[in-house]
């Protein structure tokens, strides 16, 4: 038996099909992941993301520590509550994990992946030597993502005391309200909130959301939604052997100021100088069949690559994929699907945002 979040009983109540996910018993779907996917695109859906790891960074050196630890620069967080997406790199420039960091009142809150929790904590602890900081995990906080065009309004209707604060949140900003923390972030390409909640209050909130017509959505829908939104999944689209420059994360690397010596900087600078051989691209296959991760990508006369995440897109009704393709790839390439080479189109990510197709 795996670990259970505070919502485990709620998942069983809603007929969740439970699977192992990084040591946690989590719902993959509650009947149909396509129905759940569409609920998020058209109305509102909710995800239990309590398995993710919250680590608070406090102390006089918190900012300096994060400026060393992360490829993106927390100095960009101009006001309290602003959030930043970043890779945490090793010295070779590989991605140990991707995370979100929020600027709080004089300290920082990070949210890292559950499957990488142990190595992340170990790495953060190791790198903290010489910095006057403390790292505190917050396992007593549950986390619920409420996503979709109706999500924010519905949450405001339930948490009336926090409605004003929620209404003021800008995109990619999070603020506390008593013991709760509301962030206008997500992993679906829709507007919505990620909410951290004391464990003993989360089941009541989940029930209130259910009563308000928010559909529980599982890991299956979470994957198709993030893929349509062109968002990376750690372990699929990048890992310790893959450079962020090959994984569409170039925009998350803060090169300026040039004297900020973040971990991995030297390796990335060398890669850049040598020329990046592969880049991330979106692939679409508008016929029958589904692209899957690890399938080979072939670009005639240019080179080879690999599908890093592939699926059937419920919004578009055909297969989409994120792939690592040779630099210099044009508008088309071939993917080896089940022993056959098929022609697919190469497009710019994302595929879908706010319910609408984004590529031409």
């Amino acid at each position: 038996m795996g670990k259970h979040t505070a919502l485990y009983a709620k998942h069983l109540e809603a007929n969740g099909k439970i699977v192992d996910f990084g040591g946690w018993d989590m719902p993959i779907h509650y009947g149909s992941q396509i129905v759940e996917h569409n609920a998020v695109r058209e109305h509102a859906g909710m995800f239990d993301v309590s398995h993710m790891t919250i680590v608070d960074v406090r102390g006089p050196d918190a900012k300096a520590f994060l400026q060393k630890l992360l490829a993106n620069d927390v100095d960009k967080l101009a006001e309290v509550g602003k959030a930043l997406y970043s890779g945490m790199l090793n010295h070779d420039g590989g991605v140990i994990d991707d995370l979100i960091v929020y600027r709080m009142e004089g300290w920082y809150r990070t949210v890292v992946n559950c499957s990488t929790r142990e190595k992340d904590l170990e790495w953060m602890d190791k790198q903290s030597r010489g910095f006057d900081i403390s790292l505190t995990e917050r396992p007593e906080l549950a986390m619920v993502a409420v996503q979709g065009p109706r999500a924010i309004k519905i949450v405001q209707g339930i948490k009336t005391e926090a409605a004003d604060l929620i209404g003021r949140l800008k995109i990619f900003q999070g603020l506390p309200h008593s013991d709760w923390f509301f962030a206008r972030t997500g992993y679906t390409g829709e507007d919505g909130l990620e909410i951290m909640i004391p464990e003993n209050e989360v089941a009541g909130f989940w029930q209130a959301l259910t009563d308000a017509g928010v559909k529980p959505a599982g890991l299956g829908a979470r994957d198709t939604l993030r893929l349509e939104a062109g968002m990376n999944l750690y372990g699929n689209d990048m890992d310790e052997t893959i450079s962020p420059l090959q994984a569409g994360m170039g925009w998350t690397i803060a090169w300026q100021p040039s004297d900020r010596d973040f971990i991995g900087r030297e390796a990335l600078e060398q890669q850049k100088a040598a020329g990046v051989t592969h880049i991330q691209a979106g692939l679409v296959f508008e016929s029958r069949g589904v692209m899957r991760s690890h399938q080979k990508v072939i670009v005639d006369g240019v080179g080879e690559g690999e599908v890093t995440s592939g699926t059937f897109s419920p919004s578009l009704q055909y297969s989409i994929a994120m792939a690592r393709v040779p630099a210099g790839t044009g508008d088309t390439c071939q993917v080896e699907m089940r022993g056959k080479l098929v022609d697919v189109r190469v497009v710019k990510l994302p595929f879908v945002r706010n319910g609408k197709k984004q590529f031409a």
């Binding site: 149909s32 299956g220 589904v290 059937f312």
Partner: protein
């Protein structure tokens, strides 16, 4: 618990087989199989008239999650396929033993039916 009708026959690769009164068989995938696959989005069927060997992969079912081969449960000839699945693959999830049959076969040797599993034997495999 998945639904395993007692009046059907099964193979370990999760196809069900219904023996019709004229000796032909109708084949589909079981409730257990559709549940494991999740939402089905494409079904690729064999051509009518094709001669097939037992355990030959002759069809493909793709769900959001994975692609899965469908095997001929017996040796014989494909005499009909369910074209409706092309436009409504979700029926595989909704009605695996009814609307969502995959193909019909004429058998090379009716004695081969003895190789199939009954409902109890199949249920034991799905535990």
């Amino acid at each position: 618990m998945s639904n395993i009708p007692a009046d059907l026959k099964y193979v370990a690769s999760h196809e069900w087989i219904r023996v019709e009164s004229d000796g032909t068989v109708t084949v589909g995938i079981t409730d257990f199989a559709q549940d494991q696959l999740g939402d089905v989005v494409f079904v690729e069927l064999p051509e009518v008239g094709t001669d097939v060997e037992v355990e030959q992969d002759i069809a493909v079912v793709e769900s959001v999650k994975a692609a899965s081969d469908i095997y001929a449960p017996l040796t014989g000839k494909i005499i009909a396929v369910n074209e409706a699945l092309a436009d409504a693959p979700e029926t595989v999830n909704e009605d695996p033993y009814g609307e969502a049959w995959f193909f019909k076969m004429e058998l090379a040797n009716s004695e081969d039916l003895n190789t199939l599993l009954d409902a109890d034997a199949y249920a034991a495999l799905c535990e």
